[in-house]
């Protein structure tokens, strides 16, 4: 009898807990937006975070983009050559990168490289009561600590995505033109004829901005909301990566369904 009552209670508790967290995250986003004035008055705060979040993620983004482009070039050439259209390799690489792989992969890398760092840093600040100390000195921690990281993330990820795309296309160029001997002019002209600025490039940029908001919001929220213990910080960091990766993939499906439904 007791078990019959307990099972729905457990489910109810679980659902309630999730809903509560979602609501709290939305309110947290609202709070960040309200407290963002400080970032405008003191842009150096954002600049400092952009260095840690954006510039220090450069290496992993550039190297990954390069290798994704190289592999994509090799694989696509192999398949396309069976249909006698190996010159199309530039088109396929560019379209795949600009529409899907660029935004998604760089957001996933960004979540694991920069998102975790932000979560751990804020979690540790909370554990060592630095955030409480700020509040004691009448400094709003959301304005001083959270908002700069939030905006730095939103600025950094779309830029990193563009660099990822360029490196990927360069990788495709290396494999296609230099290694496999596709004609350089056909490589570029086919790409230019197929890739549309509004349809493909702009939609890719919109995707990366949406992913940036999701990733950095989850990162700062998990950090700010972590239990103030060593264990709490570690589980918050794990949760930040898992949640933001899943959010990226789910959002990507929704955005793709709206953007590229075909005619």
């Amino acid at each position: 009898m007791k078990a019959i009552i307990r099972v729905p209670a457990l489910i109810g508790h679980y659902v309630n807990d999730r809903l509560w967290r979602l609501g709290f995250a939305s309110r947290f986003l609202f709070m960040i937006l309200i407290q963002s004035g400080t970032c405008l008055i003191r842009p150096r705060l954002v600049l400092r975070e952009a260095y840690f979040i954006g510039v220090q993620s450069l290496i992993i983004i550039l190297v990954s983009g390069m290798f994704v482009g190289l592999v994509l070039g090799l694989q696509m050439y192999d398949t396309l050559e069976r249909f006698g259209s190996g010159e199309g390799v530039g088109t396929v690489v560019a379209l795949a990168l600009v529409r899907e792989l660029g935004p998604v992969l760089s957001a996933l890398l960004f979540a694991s490289r920069a998102g975790t760092a932000v979560t751990a840093e804020i979690g540790l600040m909370k554990t060592t009561e630095q955030l409480s100390a700020m509040e004691m000195m009448a400094i709003e921690p959301v304005a001083r600590v959270i908002a700069p990281r939030f905006w730095a993330g939103i600025i950094s990820l779309p830029l990193l995505t563009s660099m990822f795309n360029v490196m990927g296309i360069f990788g495709g160029y290396l494999v296609g033109v230099l290694l496999l001997g596709v004609d350089e002019g056909i490589f570029w002209s086919q790409m230019q004829a197929t890739v549309d600025f509004r349809e493909d490039v702009l939609n890719g940029i919109i995707k990366s901005v949406v992913f940036a908001v999701a990733v950095i919001l989850i990162a700062v929220f998990e950090g700010y909301n972590s239990p103030p213990t060593a264990e709490g910080v570690s589980s918050a960091t794990t949760r930040a990566v898992v949640t933001s990766s899943l959010a990226i993939l789910a959002l990507d499906f929704v955005l793709t369904a709206f953007m590229f439904r075909g005619i």
């Binding site: 954006g54 450069l58 600025i155 660099m163 490039v201």
Partner: protein, 146 residues
Amino acid sequence: MDIWVGIFVAIGIGATVFVALRVANLASSTSEATYHVTAEFSNIGGLKVRAPVKSAGVVVGRVTDIRLDTQKYVALVSINLEQRYPFSQDTSATILTSGLLGEQYVGLESGAETENLKDGSKIILTSSALVLESLISEFLFNKASE
């Protein structure tokens, strides 16, 4: 630190511009002034919106809209042509396929008339897409009647 962030943002914007110009070829597309004409086809095959419109192999415009005219049950295809390419009023439009399996496009062939197509005018002379099934059935019927 400022320098690094500055370089980072500059490279990022540079990368976006590169993708826009070099990959999507933004500079040489769109901005051109266009005029709008329509054409009726009894069958458009696999023609799609945004398919190119070519004359003598040169891209002169794009298909902007395809719909079914429920009065005559023909396909009504809207085409945007670039302003710098005038075509005579008796221009003929054909739906062609690039390569054996390639995409379909609209081919224009200018006529002899001195008056040119204007914005909103209609191309009268059209011939439809080659549909493989009807071609085969025609061939079979001809064979059978022999």
